[in-house]
C-alpha cells in the first residue's frame, strides 16, 4: 500500500520534527491515520484480527518511537488495537451466538489451559483481558457471551471454526473491518467532542464569585471556563503566564474576549496568590496509569502551592490523554528539553559561550524542560469526558480503554 506508506512516513516526519503541537491534534491525526491504514489493509482469510493487530502494531511502534514524549500517539494506537480486539470478539460471539450455550459453571482456568492451542488470537486476547482486567461495567455486560464463546469453542473447536470460516469468512472479514472503522470513527468523534463533554460538567465545579487559577494555555480549560460563564456563573480567573512560552498571555486574551474577569500573574507569584484561590483548574499533557500527570512545566509548583493551602487541584483530561503506562523516572524520561533560546537570546550570550578560552568546557548551561510531573497525591480530581474521577481510580478507567497485552507496542509473532 504505497499511499498509506507515504502517509505514515509523512506523519512520522511531522512527529520527529515536532511539527505537531498539542496532544489533541496529535491524537486526532493518529486516529485518522490508523483508520486509513485499516481500510487499506488487506485481510487474510485466517485470523483477520491478528493480521490487523500486527499491522497496527508495526506502525504504532514506529509512531511511538518517532516522538516518545508525545504519549497521545501511543494511547490512540493502543485504543485502536483494543477496538479491534473487542470487535473481533463481538463478531466471534455473534457468529456462534446461535449455538446453544451451557455449563457456565466451567471454571475458566482449565478451559484456558487445554484450549489455548486451538483458540484464535481474539479469544486469547479476550481470555487474557478477562483475567487481567478488573471487572468494570463493560466487562460485566460482555461476560456471559464471552465465556460462553470460549466454552463453546472449547467443546467443539474444530468444526465450529471451520464452519464459521467456510460460511461467512469474506462477509465476516468485511464486517470486522467495517465495524472496526465504525468504532474508530466514534473514537475520532469522541476526541473531537471531548471538550464539550468536559465543559458540560463545568457548572458542577465552578460556583459564584469563585477565583480560579490556571497556568499556561489549554483548549480544554478555555472551553471549561467559558461553559461555566455561559451558565451565568460569574467568577474571576487568575492566569499564570507560563514562562518561557507565555501561552498564558494568549489564554488571557481568549478569556477576555469571551468576557471573563481575568488577571494575569507571573508564575513566581502563584504562591502569593494561591491563598485567594478557590480552585486550580489546569490542562494536562498526559495522565499516567497511576494518576500522575505530565503537565506543562511549572504545574508541579502550582500543585504544591495548592496542596499547601488546601486548594483543590483539578486536572482536565480528554480520554486520549489517558496513558496506560506507569511512569518511571518521568522527570527525565517523559520530558522534553526545548531550545534554550526560548529562555535566553543566543546573541546576548555569545561571549559567554566562548569555547576558545579557558578550559573549553561550557560554563553556561540553559535548560528548558517542556513538562512537569505532578504526582497523584497532589491531584484532587480528574475531570474526563466520562465525568470526575479520583486519581486512584485512573487505572480502572484506563483498563476499560486499553487491553493489557498492548501495553508494550512491539513486534511479536502473532499467536497461532
Amino acid at each position: 500500500m504505497p499511499d498509506t506508506h507515504a502517509l505514515v512516513n509523512d506523519f512520522l516526519n511531522k512527529l520527529k520534527k515536532r511539527k505537531i503541537e498539542g496532544s489533541k491534534t496529535t491524537a486526532k491525526m493518529t486516529a485518522e491515520l490508523l483508520r486509513t491504514v485499516i481500510s487499506q489493509q488487506r485481510i487474510p482469510n485466517t485470523n483477520q484480527a491478528g493480521a490487523l493487530i500486527q499491522a497496527i502494531n508495526a506502525i504504532g511502534e514506529q509512531l511511538v518511537s518517532a516522538n516518545p514524549v508525545e504519549l497521545a500517539v501511543g494511547n490512540i494506537v493502543r485504543r485502536v488495537l483494543h477496538i479491534i480486539r473487542e470487535e473481533d470478539l463481538s463478531l466471534t460471539t455473534a457468529s456462534i451466538g446461535g449455538l446453544s450455550l451451557q455449563a457456565l459453571s466451567d471454571d475458566e482456568d482449565n478451559i484456558d489451559r487445554d484450549d489455548r492451542p486451538v483458540l484464535s488470537a481474539a479469544a486469547v486476547a479476550a481470555a487474557a483481558r478477562s483475567t487481567l482486567r478488573p471487572p468494570s461495567l463493560q466487562t460485566l455486560l460482555e461476560d456471559v457471551p464471552h465465556s460462553a464463546a470460549i466454552h463453546q469453542s472449547s467443546s467443539s473447536a474444530g468444526d465450529s471454526e471451520e464452519k464459521t470460516k467456510s460460511t461467512d469468512k469474506n462477509s465476516r472479514s468485511r464486517k470486522l473491518k467495517h465495524n472496526v472503522i465504525e468504532t474508530v470513527n466514534e473514537l475520532i468523534q469522541d476526541i473531537a467532542t471531548c471538550h464539550e463533554l468536559i465543559a458540560e460538567q463545568a457548572v458542577e465545579h465552578i460556583h459564584h464569585n469563585e477565583v480560579i487559577l490556571t497556568l499556561g494555555s489549554s483548549g480544554t480549560v478555555i472551553e471549561f471556563l467559558c461553559a461555566a460563564k455561559e451558565k451565568k456563573r460569574n467568577f474571576r480567573v487568575f492566569v499564570a503566564e507560563g514562562a518561557p512560552r507565555y501561552q498564558g498571555h494568549t489564554l488571557a486574551k481568549e478569556l477576555v474576549t469571551r468576557g471573563l474577569q481575568t488577571t494575569v500573574i507571573t508564575d513566581s507569584a502563584v504562591f502569593a496568590m494561591i491563598s485567594r484561590v478557590n480552585m486550580v483548574i489546569v490542562g494536562a499533557h498526559a495522565v499516567m496509569a497511576n494518576g500522575g500527570v505530565i503537565a506543562p512545566v511549572g504545574l508541579n509548583m502550582v500543585a504544591l502551592a495548592a496542596q499547601r493551602h488546601a486548594v483543590p487541584f483539578v486536572v482536565l483530561a480528554g480520554i486520549h490523554k489517558l496513558c496506560p503506562l506507569y511512569p518511571h523516572n518521568p522527570e527525565v524520561l517523559l520530558n522534553e528539553l526545548k531550545s534554550p533560546s526560548e529562555v535566553l537570546d543566543f546573541g546576548e550570550l555569545s561571549d559567554c559561550m566562548e569555547y576558545s578560552t579557558g578550559s573549553g568546557a561550557p560554563l553556561l548551561h540553559v535548560v528548558n524542560p517542556a513538562f512537569d510531573y505532578v504526582p497523584p497525591k497532589l491531584v484532587s480530581l480528574f475531570i474526563t469526558d466520562t465525568g470526575g474521577h479520583n486519581p486512584s481510580y485512573m487505572y480502572r478507567l484506563i483498563a476499560d480503554y486499553y487491553s493489557a497485552d498492548d501495553l508494550v507496542l512491539q513486534h511479536r509473532p502473532a499467536v497461532s
Binding site: 520527529k16 526545548k338 569555547y355 568546557a361 548551561h365
Partner: protein
Amino acid sequence: MVAKKGAKAGGASEDAVEDLARVPLQAILLADSFTTKFRPITLECPKVLLPLVNTPMIDYTLAWLESADVEEVFVFCCSHSKQIINYLDKSKWTNQPNFSVTTIESQNCISAGDALRLIYERNVIQGDFILVSGDTVSNMMLTQALQEHKERRKKDNNAVMTMVIKQSKPSQITRQTRLGTDELIMAIDPTTKQLLYYEDKADDSKQTLTLDKSFLSENPSLSLLNDKQDCYIDICSPEVLSLFTDNFDYQHLRRHFVKGLLVDDIMGYKIFTHEIHSSYAARIDNFRSYDSVSKDIIQRWTYPLVPDVQFSINNPTKLERHGIYRASNITQSRSSQVGPFTYIGIDTVIGNNTVISNSVIGDGCKIGSNVAIDGCYIWHNVTIQDGCKLRHAILCDGVVMKPGAVLEPGVVLSYKVIVGQEFVVPSYSKVSLLPQPVKQDSDEELEYADSNTEVIVTTNPLENGDSTNNIGSDIGENGRGVIWSISEVDHEEEWRHSVSPIPDSKLIELTQLVNEDLEVLIQDDQFLPIDVRESDTESDGDVRDESQHFEKEVEATFLRGVNENVKEEHIILEVNSLRLSYNMASENCASALFYSMMKLALDNSRNLGQDLVKCTNDVVSKWGKLLRPYLQGVDDEIEVIMKFEEICLESGKEYAPLFVKVLHFLYDKDIIQEEAILNWANEKEDADESDKVFVKQAEKFIQWLNEASEEED
C-alpha cells in the same frame, strides 16, 4: 543521470506550480567548501559527510531546509562527488514527499563562483532561492526573511540578495568570533538594513577602517557593526547567478561577489541584511567552529536538530541529566564516569575507571580502562586502548590508539591512523595515512587537491606498504600515519582554528599585542594631519597607476581578442568586468580601447610596412564596434579625441601628421559625432598654443563641419 533527475525535478516543480500556483522555493546547497581547512580529513571524505555529533553535517542542512518549507534542493558536489551522491541516494532525503533533492556533479569547479556559473548553465533555478553551503547548522524559519526579500524586490529590482546575520561579539583579543572566523565589520543603514560596507579578513596593519563619505550623503546615519556574525545563509534572486556568469572572475562569495557589488555603483545592485535573534544559525568553517557548534547542538540551541530528535537517521537516543546523550546498547563499566555534555553512540564499549567529559563518541567505539577523554570528537569504530589520554582532539573512523598513547590538545587523527604505544602526539599536529600534498597555491580558497585525491587514494595501499615501516617512527612503534609538517605561516594560525581552546600564554601574549597596537595608534595620531596628507598622495598615486594597469589590461584583452579573433561581445564583456574590478568609468574604457586599436594599427603598419592610414582604417572598421557601448555621450567621445591627441604626442608620433585624416575617418564611421569634435575644438579654444596644434590641423575639417551643421539648420 543528473540531467534526467533535473528533468524529473522540473516535472515535479511543474505540478507543484499547478497546485500551489507559485514557484517552488528552491535552494542551492554547495556540498563543497572549496577550502582546505579540514585537511587532512577532507582528502579522504567530503567535508559535508563528516559527522557532527554523530550525524553528517549535510543532514543538518537538509533537515533544516526541509523544515523551512524548501521544496527543491540542488546539491552541488565537486570533490568526492561520488561519495556524496551515494550517500544521498541511500539516505531518506531522495524519497521525501514534496522535498526533492537533486545532485549536480562537477569535477573541475574550484570555487563557489564556478559552481554557481555551472548551475546557471543548467538553468534549474526559477525564482528566488536560498544559497547555503552543506555545512550550515540552523533552525531559523525562512518565511520572514523571504517575505522581506520579496517585498524589497517589489520596490526595488536591484535588491538582489539578503544576507542573514546574527549577533555574536568577537573576542577583543583574538579578533575572531567564537566560530573561529575572522572578525567582521559591517556598515548597515539602520533604517533600510542595506549593507553598505563589508570587511572580513581585517588586516591588523590598518588601525582605522575607511568608509566612503558618500554613504552619509544618502542617509544621515549609518551603524557600524562589529558584533555581528555572518551566517552564510543568503536569499538570492536569480540575477545573482547571472551576475556570477557575467563576472567570471568572481570566485569567493563574500570576498569577490559581495564586495564586488558593494564597490560597483554602476549597476547599483543592493544587498540587504536580515538579523535573526532567537533562532540559531552557524556555519562550520574550521575546527574551532566544529567544536563550538557541536557544543551548541549538545546544549540544544539548535533544537529540534538535536541528537535525541531523530531528524535524519534512526538511532533512538536518550537525553539524561547533565546533558548526557546515550544511544541504545551501550556497555559501560560501573566504575567509569561519563561527565557532562557528552554523546555516546550505539554499541560503544567503555572500560573501567574511564573518565569522559564534553566529548562526542560515535558508534561502535571500544574504549579501554583508565582512559581520560576531555573535549574530544571521536567518530565511528575507534579503538582506544587502556591508559590513553586525549584532550581536545578529533579522531576519525577506524583510528586505533595503542595503550598509553597521549594526544595533546588540538590533534587531528585522520582515517585509520594508528598511534603507537606510549607515543605522545604533539599538539596541533595533523596525522594522516596520506602524504601531505605539495602546496601549489597559497590561496586556500582554491582547492585543486581534492579533485586529484582519488589518485592518491588509489595509490594509498602500496604507499602504506612502504610508509608503515619508515612512518612507524613517525607516530610511535608499529603505528601508521604521517605527521604533516606545518608551514610557518599556518603554524601561527594553528591555535586559531583548532578544537582546543587557546592556551592562556597565547592569550596574554595577544593582549600585550593589542596594547602595543594602541601605542602605535596613539603615536601616529599625534601627527594625524600629516598622516592624512600622505595617505592622500599615496591614494591618488595608486589611482594613477591603477588607470595605467587598466589600460594595459584592456590592451592585452583587445590584442588577445584580435589574435584569437574572439567575438566582439565577449571582448566587451571582458572589458566590462575589468572596468568593474578597476572601478573605471566608461570613457576610460573607450579611450583605453581606442588607444590599443591605434597601437595595433601602428604595429601592423610597422611590421607589414603598409601605409599607416590604411592599417588604421582596417583596424577601426574592423573593431570600431567595440567602442560603441562605451561612447554613450559626447564627453566620452571627446575623451577619445583627447586620447588620440595624447597618442600623437607621445607613443605614436607617426600619427601626428595624420591626425585629421583619422579624425575624419572616425567621423565617417560615426564613431565620433560632429558635435563631439566641435565641443572638443571649443574646449581647446582657450588652451595654450602647444595644446592647440591639432586643433589647428583640424581647423578645416571643423570649419567644414560647422558649415555642414549650418546648412542643416
